[in-house]
Every structure is written in C-alpha cells, then in structure tokens.
Symmetry: D2
Subunit: 338 residues, 4 copies
C-alpha cells in the first residue's frame, strides 16, 4: 500500500474538536475542561494560535448526551444549550442576528439546519415597522439551500445577504459528518470559529466566519451521518476489542451470566499487539489514519456514495431541531415559558 499520499484528501470530514482531544494528555495550545451538568457532559476546548491540532483558534464547546428522543433529557439539553449560547452571544438591545440553516431539506440527515430555521422567531420586519415589543430582539433567518440545488456557492449567498442587511452577528446550524458512530446524534458542538473548508457533510461551502464576514459567527453543529468508511474502520477495531474482552472475561466465573450482550466498549481491556495481528493480519498493524486511507482506496473506485444513519433518523432529526430552535429563541428573546 502506497502511503505517500496527500492525507488531506482522505480525511474524514469532522469538525468536532472533541474528537482530537484525549482525556488526560497535555497538548500544546489546547486547554480543555469537562464538567457534567444535569447529566450532560459539557467539554470546553480552547485552542490558541499555534495549537498542535492545527485547528482554528477559538472556543469549541461540546454537549454530549444520551437520548434526545426522551422528553426530560431534551429539556435538560435545552437549558444547558440556552445558557451556553447566551454567554457566547453577549447580546445588547441593538443586537441584530441572522440565523442561517445550512443543508438540504430534502435529505433527512442533512435537513437539521433548514428545520431549525423554520422554527426561529424572526422579528426584523417588525423592527423596521417599529412594531417590536421589548421582549424580542431584532432577528432574521434564512435557508440558503445547497449548491447542488441552487448552483450558487452557499457562502456567496450568505455573504451577499450579510452585506445587504448588515446583521451584527450570525448563527449557522449545520449537520456534520461524524468520525465515530458513538457521537452520532448525541453531540452538539458550539464554536465561535464559524464554518471552514473541509468541514462537515459535503464540500458545499467555503469559509463562513468572522474573518470572511466581519461579524461574529457562531456555528452549531451536530454529527448526523457517518461515512461508510467510518463504520467499517470502527467495526474492525471493535472486532479486536470484542475479542480481547471475551478473552479476558470468559475465564472469569463471575461474568458468565452477564456475558451476553455486555457493551464491551465500556470495559477497560488490555490490548495485545500479537493477538491483534493474529486476528486481523496486516489490517491489525495499521493505525487509525492508515486504515482510513486503505478503506478510502478500497471503496472509492467502486463508486459508492453511501452514508450510515440510525433507522429512526427522521424522528431523531425532528427532536434535535426542536432542541436547537427552542434554545436559540430562548437565548435571544424573552419568551414566556408558561
């Protein structure tokens, strides 16, 4: 296998800073802190200019939760997300926002942005008529569509509208591709770095950020699909973990009864290089990046353009968009929750 390749073209597109941060390690230019608020894991990652992750300087806040289809859970996520957004936005009475939903409303996993925008309480037209009550701030919203349906670079549409209506800040909502199955629909990332090239679900945009637009840009992203290569590489790793787990626990009499259907990923198991190679051959000697490259080279020429989603994706996307639109509305307007 030729490894002398441009790695960037194989890169699994993800914008989750949390994917690059490991629990205990100290990394240059990276500060991170994790706390659990009301059952939701909130991780603050702060990247400075020359961080080793080579990602853009800024704040990345990640919410991790279990099940967005549970009503109680949803209310907790809304509370945490609302307070994070409030802190990041720091609005005053003259703030004028534009909410942008990226993605394609005709493709379920990519429809998160458009669905959120549909439920935003817009007020700019009332503000212009001097009919806006004090509880509401000046707000507008737009679904620019995707390049495949408009023929226009999405960032160009946004840039044009920003220049025309001159909002003081931007919030973009987007579906992301996930680097791991475990985060799928269970993570919301909020960042003040905007959206930049190579990110997200497809090559549908150029950078949308303070640098390009001249106003603060907050990006809210949720990983809603996994590339086919990810599920294969995850599973190949799981094959070994499952094997190692079985080997360690099988001879332990205590575990006999609970052995079946145990989520072995949650267990700490010692890895053994020789076992791995015996089980997986040369495959087992590849690191994660090399495995991704291999899979890309294997699947790409066959011409598949596949995605992996949960079977209940339609229902889950509805609930996620609900959580995000309510949080945005609550963090900007004063809404009577009665």
């Amino acid at each position: 296998m030729n490894k002398e390749v441009d790695l960037s073209k194989y890169q699994i597109r993800t914008d989750l800073a949390i994917d690059y941060v490991e629990e205990k390690k100290e990394l240059e230019g990276v500060k991170h802190k994790t706390e659990i608020i009301d059952g939701i894991t909130v991780t603050n990652v702060s990247l400075s200019d020359n961080n080793v992750l080579k990602k853009k300087k800024g704040k990345y806040i990640t919410l991790e939760f279990e099940d967005v289809t549970d009503r109680d859970n949803r209310e907790k996520i809304i509370n945490v997300l609302t307070s994070i957004l409030k802190k990041m936005l720091k609005l005053n009475k003259d703030s004028f926002g534009l909410i942008v939903g990226l993605g394609n409303d005709k493709s379920t996993p990519d429809s998160l942005g458009p669905l959120v925008v549909n439920d935003i309480i817009v007020t700019n037209h009332l503000y212009i008529l001097n009919e806006l009550s004090d509880n509401y701030k000046r707000l507008s919203a737009i679904n620019p569509g995707v390049m495949g349906e408009t023929g226009i670079e999405t960032s160009d549409i946004i840039d044009a509208i920003v220049k025309k209506i001159k909002p003081s800040y931007l919030i973009v909502i987007d579906s992301l591709a996930s680097k791991s199955i475990e985060r799928l629909n269970k993570t919301i990332q909020i960042t003040d770095t905007g959206i930049h090239p190579g990110s997200g679900i497809g090559n549908k945009r150029k950078e949308i950020s303070f640098e390009t637009l001249g106003i603060p840009v907050i990006a809210i992203g949720v990983p809603t699909v996994v590339d086919a290569t990810v599920i294969v590489s995850d599973t190949i790793n799981f094959i070994y973990k499952n094997y190692a787990f079985n080997k360690e626990y099988m001879n332990n009499p205590k575990s006999k009864l609970t052995f079946n259907n145990v989520n072995y990923l949650n267990k700490q198991v010692k890895e053994n290089k020789e076992d791995k190679e015996q089980l997986l051959g040369l495959l087992g000697t590849l690191n994660e990046e090399e495995l991704q490259i291999l899979l890309y080279e294997v699947l790409n020429p066959i011409g598949y353009n596949l995605m992996v989603t949960p079977k209940e994706i339609d229902f889950i996307i509805q609930k996620l968009s609900n959580v995000i639109s309510i949080s945005i509305n609550n963090s900007i307007h004063v809404i009577d929750k009665k």
Copy 2:
C-alpha cells in the same frame, strides 16, 4: 355608504393585465391580440408609456386553458409556454440566468414558486468548474422564502444575490391573487415588466424589475387564490345573471329539457336595470368597484383573513409547477425529450 375613500387600499390585488382588457374596445396605449394555439388561448397585451390602464409599460402574454390536470392539455401548455419563453429570453451561449421562486412552500396555494425552483436544472456550479456540456446554459435558482419567515424583505435578498453572482437575466415565478374565480389555476401570465408593489398574493415584496436590478426580469404568474370578497361579489353578480337567464329561457319550450345545470355564464343574456334592482335592492345599483369597497368594509372589521381555493388545490399546484419548471428547463437547455 361613504365612497370618498382611497380606492387603492380596497383594490383587489391582481397582476393579470388581461383582467383590464376587454375584447373589442380600443384603449389608448394598449395593443392586444388574441389567438388560439392548440386549444390554448394566447393573448398578447402590449402597453405603451401612458396607457389608460396605468399599468407598467411592457409585454403581458396570457395563456388560458381549461384543465391542467389533464396530461394532453399539459403537454400543449408546455409547448406553447416554452416557445413564448424562448422568444422573450433570446438567450445566447453566454447568458447566465437566475430563477427565483417567490412564495411560501408551507402554504399550498402560495407554494408554486418554490415548487418550480425545486425542479430547475441548475448548472452554474458546473460552469465554474468548466464541466458544463454544450447542451446546457449557465443557470442558478433560489427560493428566498417569505418575509414572515425570514424577517427580510424578499426583494432585498434577490438584489443582494444578483449583485453578488451577476446573472444576465432573472425569471421570477409567483402565485397571484385572482380578480375572478374563472381564472383560478387556469391562466399563466408571462411579462417582461417584473413584479411590482401592490401585486400578487400579499404585501411580501418590493419591485423586482429591470429598473431595480439592471437586468431583464421576466415574471411568470398564476392566479391560485381568490380573496373572499371576490367570491362574494362574483356570486352576487351571478345571482342576477342566473335570474335573467332563467327569465329568458324558462318560457322557451326548447330549453325545457336542458334547463337544469346549464352553465348560464356562457349564454348571452340581456341585462335589465329594473329587474336587477328589484332582485338585489341597493346592492344591485353598485358597480363592481363600489361593491368591492362595500364588501371590504363589511368583512374587514370582523377580522377574517380568508382565501378561496379549489378543493383539489394540492394536486393542481403540483401539476402547474410541473408545467412551468419543464417549460423553463426546455426553453433554456437543450433537453433530450426521448
């Protein structure tokens, strides 16, 4: 009844030039010609600068047809509409179009524009990559949404995008309010005058035209709803026509058998002022405009915001959008019809 009022505020919103043109009369500044092509009535109205209709100078071409849900009929409309668009557009190989769908995709009778745009074959992104085949011209398309959902004046969004991507012409598709039940979903108007204030289904836009954008703007409009006042005023007139028809034909022995369910509107009947007043009282003495004003004054304070549509509106809108999107695609690209 006070008639000393500003008539403009009562005006039934319509943009159908044909509504102002009567068959035989000579009007200053107005040329019109009607021909029937393959069963479709095509009326060309040409207005010069100081026309008596006080409408904008330009060409208004109207197609009138019976039933857009009939497949044969649909193919005929597509043929006629395609050839009209081709003539109006006069494209060359460098032409670069932007198709704009006005209206709200969540309200059936107002969703015509967005539905048409969804089926436009856009190519601008391929043109930029130099991947465009000769059969296709450079084309982009956008659904700007409605002000109630974006908080932004629709004409501002269009203006911003036009300035950014610099198309050489614009086509806007819009649902109109009809001044008469008879035209509902049975008329398509194509005009080179664009969309201007006071037109259409709601107050959702400022002028979109050559004058404001600096490029040719062709507007395609279809009357898809009727205001509640229209159906009432139409029906009050029908009451008299029906009465007059009955009076004239009832004593005619020949018509006895066919009397029931005859469409009396197609019959020529002499009107009689005294009969009308006896039947309708003071109502019968009002001209059309006065009746509209009265109805507006009667219905407005009650706070109804009603519209009248055919019961099959969802199905009809699908077919109309199909006809228009195919005609636009055919008039711009070279599409193999096999």
Copy 3:
C-alpha cells in the same frame, strides 16, 4: 325561484349540534347547558329519541375557544378536552381502543384526522407481547385513507378491522364543514353518536357508530372549511348588519372615534325589515334556508368546487391536531407530564 325542491340536497353539511340550538329557546327532546371553563365555552347538548332537530339521539359536547395558535390557550383546551374524553370513555384496565383518523393527509384542511393518528401512542403490539407497562392501556390506531385514493368505502375498512382485532371502543377524528365562518377552527365537538351519513366534509363515508359496529364510537370533529355558499350567505347577512349598525351608531357622537374597524357582529342592533329589503331587494326577503338554496342553484351549474379556509390553515391544523392527539393520549394512558 322554485322552492319546491328536495331540501336535503342543498343542506350545508354540518354535524355541529350547537348550530341547531339557540340560547334561550325550549326545544322538544333537547336539553342543553353552557358553562365557561377556564375561558373555554363548553356546551352540553343532550338529544332524546324524538327531538325536534331530527338529529341522532345522544350527547354532543362542544368546546368553543378563540385562538388555538396561542400556547396558553392550547393548554387550557387540552385540559378541558382530556377531562371530557375521560368522562365519556370510562375506561377500565381491559379496555382496548382503536383510534381512526378520517380524511386526506394530502389536502391540508382535511388532514386533521391523519395528523392526530400519527401522534397517538399505540401499544397493542406490546400488549400482545406482554410488554405493556401498567401506565399504558391497550391502544391501536389507523388512517384508512379516503375513498378517492383507496377505491374502498372508508366505513368498510373500519368495519373489517374492528371485526378482526375486536377493540372495545372506537374514537374517530374528522374534519367537518362549518355552517358559519365564525366557528372555523374554533370549535371541537365530541359526540357519542359516531359519524353518520350526510355529515362532514364530503360524501366519503357511511355511518360509523355503535349501531353499525357494535362498540361505543366517540367522534371528535372540528370544522376546518366553509363551503363557498356559506361565505356568500354570511356576507350578505353581514352587509345588512353592518348597514344597521352604521345607521344606529353613526349619529351617536360618542361612537365617532371608535367607529372604524369596530366588530359590529358583537353589537346588539335592531333589525328593520323595510331597510333590509331596500338594501338587498328580494334577496333580503329570503330566510337562511332559502338563501342557501338560491346560492346552491346559482353556483352549482358553473361547476365550482371551492372551499374557504384561513390563509394560515397549515399552521392552524398542526396546532389543532396537536391539541387533540395530546388530549387522547392523556385521557387513555398515564403520561408523566414533566
């Protein structure tokens, strides 16, 4: 005008018992009582066997409210509706329900039933597997479609399924045609008499009731459309009421300032037969039924099949279906409202 006609064929289809009951009059076989609960007007009409209304014996409970798009209002309606349904259903732990959504999910005003059914918490399949928790009762739900799309009489589909799965009670949800604009989307009727011929929005069903199915049938209906004839006849009456109101209040100096945009329908105004005839001619001499017949005869031969709905119908139907599905779920299952 020939009035010697079969009145039944002209009858505006409505199933709202409340339309037939006037405030103070004593009617044979009719008991009715109105109370206001939390801002919602609840009218109980009880019809005995030979009631003068010639409607089916049974209970008809009507909720009247102002604005279902207001969140507070919605919670009040849910509370009242839930408690009415609980009282009517009188379920025990073995009760097994079938919820049926009548109507066409592709036509907005007729989609209420299907939308409600989509949000019902069904449990019958879990009951069969013995996996049902105590908080939930055995429940199933179905959208049988409309005859125009299935080719099958809807009542036949329901009858077949009832015979097969043997529920102990049925709830049907349906869109109704309203006899008055004022009730449109502002009334919910619950009756234990089921659905019977001549009712509702179209001729799409035969009787669905205890008599035909052998189990209790509760029908929940909401008037969501008005026939074109209704809006015309209502408006003709309003013309006179507006005239009478103006005449009475115009010379009253106190009312000068507030005169414009006053909802004259809420004011008590003396009617004057001569005035009415002068204003409306022979039209003014017709009673409501005669006017309906006239309008039917005028509009029918022209072949219009029009309906009148509010412009925001899509949004309103969403909210109404939400209110009804939550109320049904709450009245059957024990749902934690946290």
Copy 4:
C-alpha cells in the same frame, strides 16, 4: 468465537432469490434463465417443492439495471416491468385487484410501498357506481401502515380488508434489505410467492400469500437499505480483492496509466489463500456466513441500529416508486400514453 449458534437469528434478511443462485451451477429444484432485454438483465428463477435453497416454491423474476435516475433507463424498466406484470397477472375483465403498499412513509428507504400506492389509479368506487369506462379495470389500493404506528399486525389489516371487499388478486410492494451493496436500488424482484416471515426490512409482518389469503399474491420488492453488517463484510472482502488486483496489475506496464480509480470488482483476479490470511489474519479464514455471525456478535451488544443508504436516497426512492406505479397502472388499465 462460538459458532454453535442458531444461524437463523443472524441471517441477513433478504428475499432476493437471485442472491442464492450462481451463474453456472446446477441446483436441485432450481431452474434459472437470464436474458438481457433492452439493457436490463432479467433473471427468471423457478423453484420447485424441495429446492436446495429451502425457499418457497414459485417464480422469482429479477430486473437488474444501472441507474433509475436516468430518464431513458426508466422508460426501459417500465416497459420490461409492465410486460412481466401483464404475464403474471393474466387479468380478465372481471378481475378486481387490491394494491398494498408495505412500509413506513415517514422513513425514506422504507417509504417505497406507500409512495407507489399514492399513484395507483383506483377505480373500485366507480365500478360500484357503474361509472367505470372499459379501458379501466376494477382496482383498489391501501397503505396499511407499520405495526409501530398502528399497533396492529399488518397482515391482519390486509386479511381483514381482503375478506371484506373480496378482491380476486393482490399486489404488495415492499422495501427489502439487501445482502449486497451492489444491488441497492438497482434490482426489482417480482414473485408469485407473496411475502413471508423473516423477509424484508424488519419483522413487521406475517405471511401475506395465496396460502394465507386464498387469492394470488404478487410481491414486488426493491432492496433499498443495507444492514451495517453487510457493508462491513463486503468491505473486508473488497480489501482483499483490491489487494489482489493491485498485486496482479501493478507490474503490468500497460495498466500503469489507468491504474487509479479502476473498478477492480469487474476484473477477474485469482484469489490466493495465503495472501488473504496474511492480509486479514483470522478474519481472512472465515467464510461469508461466519463473518456475518462475527459482525452481528460484535455490533449487536453496542446497541446500534444502523442502516446504510446512498446519500441521494430521497431522490432515488421517488424515481423507483414512479417506475413501479406507472408499470402497475399500465399493466392493469389501458392508459393512453400520448
């Protein structure tokens, strides 16, 4: 790894007979014949009573095609499918059909059946009124929903309706799970054996067949999703095939230029057991069934319920449903194709 397990519970659900038939081998009880009609591969598999595949006796006809989103291709598929259905149905003038769409219209890959039913031309209600023209046959159609939304076994709903309206034949349309990525949305299977347990996308139904209903049942199925285990096992096999292909062609100077992006699956490459084991370790020694079992055991305890679909699934399902509904209409009614 314990292989002493009940294989049935691991079985990838597929109903494509073609998956079990290899090109040249003679199998007991199995006759098959492949021909290419207008670019579409049509395979007839005929199974007799004690066939080695242990599948139900009957005819299985499979259409394989490349791209259903291509208009020309679509017309070819419609022609072939129409003629196959005509032969299978053998209708006479008294035939009375019921078309059943299995699946969930709210989950894109499972919505094929409901979408097809929406476009069927039903006539039974006209037949009953004696209003049916000679060009049309008696036809009805229904979407019974899925058990998770109705609480009712789908086969029970169908059985009840068949007993009530007594059609003379049934056509069911269903989404299938595929055993291979290559067939995804590129295969239509028509069989006279109906739908039977263990088939298809989920456990949502009991048998629907001549044996259970007493009338001929034709099932039309399309594989629209692939289970996550399939993509992993396919890819693991591809890894080796890609490796073998590279090894064989890399030293061949002729292929140097075309080496990249060659679809190696179409090339005949010698397999080498030792190479495979070196590359894949123990994984490389498993046969297809053993690999599936392993993957099931690895992925199941983690609790993922994932599916794999093409990114353009919404668009593809529209086109597939279009092809099938037109073919059904054409094979039953005489439809003027003008």
